[in-house]
Amino acid sequence: MYSRTIEIWVGIFVALGLVSLFLLAMKVSNLAELDTGGRGYIITARFQNVGSLRPRAPVSMAGVRIGRVTKVGFDKSSYEAIVEMRISGEYDTLPTDTSAAILTAGLLGEQYVGLTPGAEEEYLKDGDEIELTQSALVLEQMISRFLFNKAEEAGGTEEGKAEKKATGSAKR
């Protein structure tokens, strides 16, 4: 029957389209993994400098992602950055003296928050703040400090230039 074939084809078409959407959602995007959308709990941390940390950056402990940064704010009285992050509900055993550092994945990679567990018996709860923090390493500051020290040691400008070249190529 003519109309029956057409109906079957339309059914196949719609099914294929929906399967494509489903594959896009589950296989291509991050929907399948760690959903921190509504569940979990929020902790904050203050940093001197967050570098280029952005919302949605990963929060990891021991290299495993356990949450995401939800907000990067600025405290105008203490001139510090406030990073708000949502930790997945299943990881609710972070000690209260956990420390947070802003790290970089590779030389050119994105920045993320790395947590290192402490030894306290009590655990962080929703709304708690991490006291021990370590700021992001700003590469330019590091290089200029390094060059400055080198130049001071050598007492000459020639040395400094050579070093600059060396670090330049190492960066590449």
Binding site: I6, G17, S20, L24, S29
Partner: protein
């Protein structure tokens, strides 16, 4: 000088007039949507001719676009030693831009032109007038199912285009160029966000579906009822669709990805 001004004024008034007609026409067709849902077979037949018959075109184009993205992306990314990001590049450009836009352009050429020609010819052969004689509203009976079918089909076709494109990029990147399979997939999944990328891509394709089908059915309905008029209307339908899709793509991209 005055004639030039008069010509400009005439053109502007004509454009505004046509735009107004197009909107009234769309409202009229929209009022026919409930009726279409009652007569479901009408819609099914149109989805077949608009959507099902476009699958092959969309699938093959998607495959080749994805493969080209894989090759070109690899060339650029390997300069920075970031071949592992190939998956992100291929998937992001497909899901955000190329999927909806290229599908809409193909859709305008494959389905939109056919819709315009069909409705235009119906008008030229006075079939539409005949329907009116029988107290059947041609906009509700002929246009509304085609309009709805286009709107339904576009997002599905765009999703197929994107997923086949990603597979093509995966085939070239992992199969031929030796990018690490795990890195390709994990980086892609880490960077492609469901709400930010996939949902926005679907919204885009939905908007493009409305635009392309609207232009196609309106140009057909508004065509001068002669063979030349129908051929001109078909050309206009494809040209206007391409302009509208590319222009609206910029607007939508600015709204979706412009901030932060």
């Amino acid at each position: 000088m005055v004639t030039a001004l008069q010509w400009l004024g005439q053109w502007a008034m004509g454009a505004v007039h046509k735009l107004g007609r197009a909107h009234l026409f769309a409202l009229h067709a929209l009022s026919g949507f409930p009726q279409v849902l009652v007569r479901f077979p009408l819609l099914v037949v149109q989805v077949y001719s608009v959507g099902v018959l476009s699958i092959l075109l969309v699938a093959i184009s998607g495959l080749f676009v994805g493969m080209v993205l894989g090759l070109q992306g690899y060339n650029v990314l390997s300069d920075f030693g970031a071949e592992e990001s190939l998956g992100v590049m291929v998937a992001a450009s497909l899901v955000r831009e190329l999927g909806p836009v290229v599908t809409a352009l193909l859709f305008a050429g494959r389905a939109g032109s056919a819709l315009t020609a069909e409705i235009g010819l119906m008008k030229a052969t006075e079939q539409l007038a005949g329907m009116e004689m029988m107290a059947v509203d041609p906009v509700k009976r002929i246009v509304a199912p085609r309009f709805l079918a286009g709107i339904v089909s576009m997002p599905l076709l765009a999703a197929m285009f994107s997923i086949i494109g990603v597979l093509g990029g995966y085939f070239v990147g992992v199969g031929l160029l030796g990018v690490d399979e795990g890195a390709f997939r994990s980086q892609m999944q880490a960077k492609i966000d469901f709400h930010e990328d996939i949902v926005n891509g679907v919204i885009k394709s939905l908007v493009f579906g409305v635009i392309v089908t609207w232009i196609a059915v309106f140009e057909g309905y508004d065509a001068v009822p002669t063979s030349e008029g129908v051929s001109r209307a078909t050309t206009r339908s494809v040209v206007y669709s391409a302009f509208a899709v590319l222009g609206w793509d910029f607007v939508l991209t600015a709204l979706m990805f412009g901030k932060d």
